[in-house]
């Protein structure tokens, strides 16, 4: 068994080497490449036009992805990194590992203006508290209402989860110096804090909490894939925080031209039309055919909050200690 596993490893290595087509290596997060993510369709579509071999390498989630690239440094095999968000891009850019994307200006369908020399967005979504309409009659309309209510929530830890970090910055962006106070008020609503999104969402579906931190697009999955219209997301009056997922090319890439072609491909319909029903996020550029039926039912917050990438790194340490202090009591 041991032998055959080793053999499998070597065989995989040799077949990869035997192919003569140029190989574009894209590092991304795990759920992107899974059978249920956008990866397989994106790979087929891009390979059909590039005459190359598109190879996805998966590394945990967005933060793990960046850790890996930083760990590998200049010797990284990655040509493109896809799956960072605005909380990570400042660190990524500061590493000097990323080249400017150099793409022509694109008309993005984002609630905010996008200006970033290194990174291009491919999808986005609003963080939101998701609930079951049949169980929660009066969904809260802001954090203070939520804190004042008896409703229970399950959230993610900002130290180990992307949505957790999003929530941290959400409260900070909305309340500034009052953030600690809001967290203290929320403390008795929080059932628990999970390491990742999956645990939290699973616990919510099991009925452990009334609301869960997720995305405004989450109800679309239940509606489209399961025909279940009971799930809804709450829009908050102070605004909902944005997550913008981006990609960038590595300065040390030996497939610079292919990498450019991939980034250009990323904002075309062939890529963008895959996003809504695999990543369950909004595409960065709405495809010509529009969004899938069902997305029109989603709540759209009136205000989009986003801490600029450059400020996020500085803000999050303060925000984290406020969060820890408030919830450790």
């Amino acid at each position: 068994m041991k032998k055959s596993l080793m053999m499998a490893g070597f065989l995989a290595a040799t077949t990869a080497a035997a192919q003569e087509k140029p190989v574009l290596t894209v590092y991304t997060y795990d759920s992107f490449v899974s059978e249920w993510g956008p990866g397989p369709q994106v790979e087929t579509a891009f390979e059909a036009e590039c005459g190359c071999d598109l190879r996805f390498v998966a590394a945990g989630d967005g933060a793990a992805l960046l850790s890996r690239v930083l760990l590998e440094g200049e010797s990284t095999e990655a040509d493109v990194v896809l799956g960072l968000d605005t909380n990570l891009t400042a660190t990524a850019a500061a590493s000097g590992l990323f080249a400017e994307h150099g793409q022509a200006a694109t008309e993005f369908d984002l609630p905010v203006d996008w200006v970033d020399p290194h990174f291009l967005p491919y999808d986005w979504g609003y963080f939101a508290f998701v609930y079951d309409r049949t169980k929660v009659a009066d969904a809260p309309t802001d954090f203070e209402a939520l804190a004042a209510s008896d409703l229970t929530i399950v959230i993610q830890d900002p130290r180990s989860s992307t949505p957790g970090l999003g929530l941290l910055l959400w409260v900070k962006a909305a309340y500034g110096d009052r953030a600690g106070e809001i967290w203290s008020a929320l403390a008795d609503n929080i059932v628990t804090v999970t390491p990742g999104w999956s645990e939290a969402y699973g616990m919510f579906l099991e009925g452990e909490a009334d609301l869960v931190l997720s995305y405004t697009t989450s109800p679309a999955y239940h509606l489209i894939a399961e025909g279940d219209d009971t799930k809804a997301a709450a829009a908050f009056s102070e605004g909902n925080y944005l997550q913008v997922e981006v990609a960038g090319k590595l300065a040390g890439s030996d497939q610079g031209e292919l990498a450019d072609r991939f980034l250009a491909f990323m904002v075309t319909d062939a890529f963008q039309s895959v996003i809504p029903e695999t990543n369950w996020m909004y595409p960065a550029v709405t495809p010509e055919a529009g969004l899938p039926t069902g997305f029109e039912t989603l709540v759209i917050p009136e205000k989009a909050l986003l801490v600029p990438a450059a400020d996020a790194a500085a803000l999050r340490d303060t925000a984290l200690s406020e969060w820890q202090t408030a919830l450790s009591r």
Binding site: M1, K2, L5, M6, A8, G9, F10, A13, A16, D30, S31, S34, E35, W36, G37, G39, F56, V57, A58, A59, G60, A63, A64, L66, S67, R68, L71, E72, S75, E77, T152, D157, P158, R159, S160, L165, A187, I190, V191, T192, V193, T194, W197, S198, E199, Y201, G202, M203, L205, E206, G207, E208, A209, S218, H222, W280, L320, W323, L327, S328
Partner: protein, 522 residues
């Protein structure tokens, strides 16, 4: 009886040396690689010390409770024969080998806010209880580790030769006397090691502690390592915390060795154990109650997992089945690796007169942060080969190393008994090398070997291990696929995958464990 300390044979020295070197490379070596990359250690902050305090407290309480509760359960299983006992023993092992996320979901179905227990309490007019908090962490850790403690203790009970029970019966020993003369020395020999093993498992806990701990108060060192690694991108602090975790392991293991005394039962003639001491009605009732409660506590969450997932099993998408096959391969590879590592180590340890460094070395993987191990291994292997190509063999090897402490717990006492009981006879007959392995070691170690192989296979099956850094997306294992299903909102499919995982893990465990017990010598 004076006994010459025989020098270890050359193959044994080479085997044990290689195993020890590999363990060192994977634990201290990977840590060193990370430290080197970080350019040195970093200072720890107040939050880190708070994490240390919480980690130690919860690990101590969890381990103490697991061990204390395991004693009556193991004793009841040791002295009772009833239909379904074998299946019960196998099933009781299940929580230990479940992926954390699956087990937590199972626990919540029973003990959660809208779980069975709370619904029952509410129906009876009592208030609901919350599982979240320190007690929740402990409850979950006991759920995970009680089965391990029971199994290891049960091995201890079964290792008391039938002759000793016969002698006790002849001397008219009552249960209290048996406890004093037979059970207490056995427990004295085994408990420190088992306690430390569980203590260390709980020490590196992260997902359980956080999910059920209710918030950042329940920050463990492992979570602090995560934070340093991926929130602060501070490799140095991550490595410093990991080093602290290893140091704790060394202290704990050293302390346990000091308290552990050999039981000194000597060898018997492998007669089937008959128990003449357990016939009293009160004892039968007591054991029945203990077994019922223990089984209910451990099996109810499993039943919840099975009920949720069984209907989904048939409709699972093909990639899940492929992943299952891949995981089976990894599990079997891990098992082969693990036994090849553990056997020479156990035999070498058994031939020494006192527990020593080698035995403590076997405990190191327990206290190794899987994040640091994965990262260090990644740094070490990357110059040699593409990590993606090595994903499966590396996973098998790491899982094998991670299972080593449990295997050694099971093998060393048996190896010691075999050595003490029959080492001189074998020496006097010139029984050496492969022949000794085949005719003395393997037959005498058959039960613990079967148990160890089953445990490794099952653990490896359910462990996400270090694959995250090595995975290339196309070679996902079943646990990874399960997480992916959850990440893609497919909770129902995930429940089905969980049942598949549970069934495969238990199946592997059962087959190996059974193999170790079949044809037990009369």
């Amino acid at each position: 009886m004076a006994d010459r300390a025989q020098p270890l044979s050359l193959p044994l020295r080479v085997g044990a040396g290689a195993a020890a070197a590999l363990v060192l490379a994977l634990t201290l070596g990977t840590l060193g690689a990370v430290l080197l990359r970080a350019g040195g250690a970093s200072a720890l902050g107040a939050a880190d010390w708070a994490a240390l305090r919480f980690t130690l407290t919860q690990a101590f309480v969890s381990a103490a409770l697991s061990v204390l509760l395991a004693i009556p359960v193991a004793r009841a299983l040791a002295r009772r024969r009833f239909p379904g006992r074998g299946i019960l023993i196998t099933l009781l092992g299940a929580p230990f080998i479940l992926p954390v996320i699956v087990a937590v979901m199972g626990i919540l179905t029973i003990f959660g806010r809208s779980g069975l227990v709370n619904d029952g309490l509410a129906a009876l007019g009592f208030g609901r209880i919350s599982i979240y908090g320190f007690h929740g962490v402990v409850l979950a850790h006991v759920f995970f580790n009680l089965p391990l403690a029971v199994r290891l203790l049960l091995q201890g009970w079964l290792a008391i030769p039938a002759e000793r029970f016969r002698l006790s019966a002849a001397l008219g020993f009552r249960p209290g006397d048996i406890a004093r003369h037979l059970e207490r020395p056995m427990l004295r020999a085994l408990l420190p090691g088992i306690f430390v093993t569980i203590f260390l498992i709980c020490l590196t806990s992260f997902a359980v502690a956080l999910t059920l701990g209710g918030g950042p108060k329940a920050t463990t060192i492992e979570l602090a390592i995560y934070q340093a690694f991926r929130f602060d991108f501070d490799l140095g602090r991550a490595a410093t915390l990991a080093a602290m975790q290893l140091l704790l392991c060394a202290i704990a293991a050293g302390t346990a060795m000091r308290f552990s005394l050999p039981s000194g039962f000597g060898a018997g003639l492998d007669r089937p154990v008959a128990r003449w001491d357990a016939g009293a009605a009160t004892l039968i009732l007591q054991d029945a109650a203990v077994l019922t409660l223990g089984a209910a506590f451990l099996l109810a969450p499993l039943a919840a997992i099975a009920l949720a997932g069984l209907p989904q099993l048939a409709g699972l998408p093909a990639p899940v089945w492929h992943a299952a096959l891949r995981s089976l391969g990894v599990a079997l590879g891990s098992t082969a690796f693990a036994l090849a590592l553990a056997l020479p180590l156990a035999l070498a340890v058994a031939q020494r007169r006192r527990a020593d460094l080698l035995e403590s070395l076997g405990m190191l993987p327990l206290a190794t942060s899987s994040l640091i191990l994965g990262t260090g291994l990644f740094l070490l292997l990357r110059p040699i080969a593409s990590p993606g190509d090595l994903a499966l063999p590396v996973t098998a090897l790491v899982n094998a190393t991670m299972a080593l402490p449990f295997i050694l717990r099971a093998l060393i006492p048996a190896a010691r008994d075999a050595h003490e009981g029959y080492g001189r006879l074998a020496d006097s007959l010139g029984l050496a090398g492969v022949a000794r392995l085949r005719l003395l070691t393997l037959p005498r170690l058959r039960r613990p070997l079967g148990f160890a192989a089953g445990l490794t296979a099952a653990l490896s099956m359910g462990d996400l291990g270090v694959i995250a850094l090595f995975a290339d997306g196309e070679r996902a294992t079943l646990p990874l696929q399960l997480y992916r299903l959850m990440g893609a909102y497919r909770m129902a499919d995930a429940a089905g995958a969980a049942v598949l995982l549970l069934a495969l893990s238990l199946g592997l465990f059962w087959i190996f464990d059974r193999g170790g017990r079949a044809d037990a010598d009369a």
